[in-house]
């Protein structure tokens, strides 16, 4: 990990290392996702605390480092190192046309339920996941609720315009 003057950004395992409100964020391209995660496991990040996704359909103009190409979906993985007492966040861009990514199940078996939830709520498939089925919605549900083009499903109430 090299930190030089403002000209060269910091990198870790060849991926861009950023900072968000004081928290370390690693921008990993989808092609090197699996290999980078394996290296992070060896670095001492024993526990994958959380795996979730964000749909940037209505906020495509979010700020990203220059070298990262923005896509519609982002997979966000939060890692925890128990030995070093550190956290690291990994962000991977996933495009709408190809919503697939490798599964972390072999590295972190605890991501099984988390990836199922992302599949259920966003429609992103995980290659190598042992049981990729819906987990929160009924099995025959159509659509992926947390996508931005999926309506909230409100029924009209008397006072229109009130927030919720």
């Amino acid at each position: 990990m090299s930190t030089e003057a403002s000209t060269t950004p910091a990198t870790l395992h060849g991926c861009l290392l950023g900072d968000s409100r004081g928290q370390a964020v690693l921008f990993v391209p989808k092609q090197s996702y699996m290999s980078t995660m394996k290296k992070l496991v060896d670095d001492g990040f024993e526990m994958c605390v959380d795996l979730t996704a964000v749909d940037f359909l209505t906020h495509a103009s979010r700020t990203l480092p220059d070298s990262v190409a923005a896509e519609r979906f982002e997979i966000v993985v939060n890692l925890l190192s128990l030995s070093k007492r550190e956290r690291l966040r990994v962000r991977v861009q996933v495009s709408e046309s190809d919503p697939n990514i490798d599964s972390l199940f072999d590295l972190y078996p605890g991501t099984e339920a988390m990836e199922r939830e992302v599949f259920d709520m966003f429609g992103i498939s995980f290659a190598g996941h042992p049981d990729l089925t819906r987990i929160l919605m009924p099995e025959d549900w159509q659509g992926h609720p947390l996508r931005k083009d999926y309506a909230q499903g409100r029924i009209p109430v008397q006072f229109k315009g009130a927030a919720s």
Binding site: D42, V49, D50, L107, D131, L136
Partner: protein, 450 residues
């Protein structure tokens, strides 16, 4: 075979190269090996399971049976459905099916302002709602950049409420765990103690549950004048009652028979599955976010982290019982440390003005109006903040886009991840132990399904 980097390090030291016999780096292991998985998880979709019911099976002696437990069941701690594969009375594989309480809270959270977000998040873990509100408020404050400016009194009040919530949540665990194992009178005792804490919450926050009291910027209102007496009376009453539980349960042979050796999980399994809280501590790893990655002022307080040794259900019960005692110890220290001062940050853009000011000042009226209708705008960014809830690590990931509502609000619920440990704990045990295992994980289905 080309030696890998790790090989050269080892072989340079020892001068040999054993190749495949050497311990490979952890990233080389598959889940199967990490978990020593012997097929504990029943991988069958719900649709297939429904078809099973229609098949005329002739149960032979050595055939297994798949039965369904829940979602409406007195002992599943809410609407958890378990599909158990049984051979006789022994549980072979298990699949927890969740989603029966899915409320779309993360979707709802995207349409509520940051001040209203507490009402949403508090109903996720409804047994420790103040902890859920706390983590959401801390994430919002980090995004706003005011997390270092929260007044001292507000921080100490938050710690006091968080620890009292831990006590009430663990008392409920005592009650439900006792009832599930069969000590039904424990249900009555646990609720009796919990009522006193709930009444204190009602006095302070206005509600017995789902308080919406810890908000971004501080807390919603100041503590009542005689709060110290109320807290002292709780602290005076509890130790004897906890001693009663020790007599009733801890040293009792039936209790020990039912819990010792039941639901064993190893440390490697717990870490691999992401299990935190009492489950991880029962395996012997002393990991508690309050001590290892301290937040608020926990680094200024003295308390022990309770650790088990066998990773079984009895350890988890004992850990929670002693965590009540540790929380009492923390509350005693907090009693003397709460300073006077503001109970919320005096940033006009974030916290509403006192109601009396609205009559006097136009500016105060406008701020009040803007904060409650439109909401305060949070600068763009994303954060993940985690604290130690009674069930483990609860985290809140918020991505904001500069508008008054979160763009994406995700709560990392400890029970959601802990429930994955169920199949591994139940394997090889009896059906009757299944209830004890679920109870020892202490899942809250509200945060599992969100």
């Amino acid at each position: 075979m080309t030696p890998r980097e790790s090989d050269t390090v080892v072989s340079a030291a020892a001068g040999t190269n054993e190749g495949n016999q050497e311990l490979r780096s952890r990233s080389e292991l598959t889940a199967k090996e990490v978990m020593r998985e012997v097929g504990a998880v029943l991988r069958m979709s719900e649709a297939d399971a429904a078809l099973l019911a229609e098949v005329e099976a002739d149960p032979g002696e050595d055939q297994t049976m798949i039965i369904n437990m829940g979602p409406q069941h007195p002992s599943t701690h809410g609407v958890l459905r378990l599909m158990l594969e049984l051979k006789g009375e022994t549980v072979l594989r298990c699949k927890p099916i969740i989603g029966y309480l899915h409320t779309g809270m993360e979707k709802t959270g995207e349409s509520l302002t940051f001040m209203q977000g507490g009402t949403n998040v508090t109903r996720m873990d409804y047994l420790s709602p103040l902890n859920s509100e706390l983590v959401f408020s801390m994430a919002t404050e980090k995004l706003l950049g005011i997390d270092g400016d929260i007044p001292e009194r507000a921080v100490w009040i938050r710690m006091l409420l968080s620890e009292l919530n831990r006590m009430s949540s663990h008392l409920l665990f005592m009650a439900t765990n006792g009832m599930d194992i069969g000590a039904v009178s424990m249900m009555l005792y646990g609720w009796r103690e919990r009522e006193v804490v709930l009444r204190f919450f009602q006095k302070v926050t206005g509600l017995r549950m789902n308080h919406n009291f810890i908000r971004p910027g501080g807390v919603a209102a100041d503590l009542p004048a005689d709060w110290r007496d109320d807290v002292m009376s709780i602290l005076d009453m509890l130790p004897d009652r906890l001693g009663e539980y020790d007599v009733l349960m801890t040293n009792q042979p039936i209790w020990r028979e039912r819990l010792q050796g039941v639901g064993v999980i190893t440390q490697a399994e717990a870490i691999a599955l992401g299990a935190t809280g009492p489950i991880l501590r029962s395996t012997g790893l002393a990991w508690d976010l309050r001590r290892d990655m301290p937040y608020m002022h926990y680094d200024e307080l003295e308390f022990d982290v309770i650790v088990g040794s066998y990773g079984d259900a009895f350890d988890r019960y004992a850990i929670r019982l002693n965590e009540i005692r540790e929380s009492m110890r923390i509350v005693r220290q907090i009693l003397d440390r709460v300073p006077s001062g503001d109970y919320r940050i005096q940033d006009k853009k974030v916290t509403p003005p006192p109601r009396a000011r609205i009559d006097e000042s136009m500016e105060a009226l406008i701020h009040h109006f803007k904060i409650f209708t439109e909401g305060f705008k949070v600068p763009e960014g994303e954060v993940y903040v985690a604290i130690e809830s009674p069930r483990g690590e609860i985290g809140c990931y918020i991505a904001s886009d500069g508008s008054p509502t979160p763009y994406r609000m995700h709560v990392r619920a400890p029970s959601f991840v802990n429930v994955q440990a169920l199949p591994h704990m139940m394997r090889g045990g009896m059906v009757a132990d299944a209830v004890a295992v679920i109870s020892s994980i202490d899942p809250v289905l509200g945060e599992v399904d969100r």
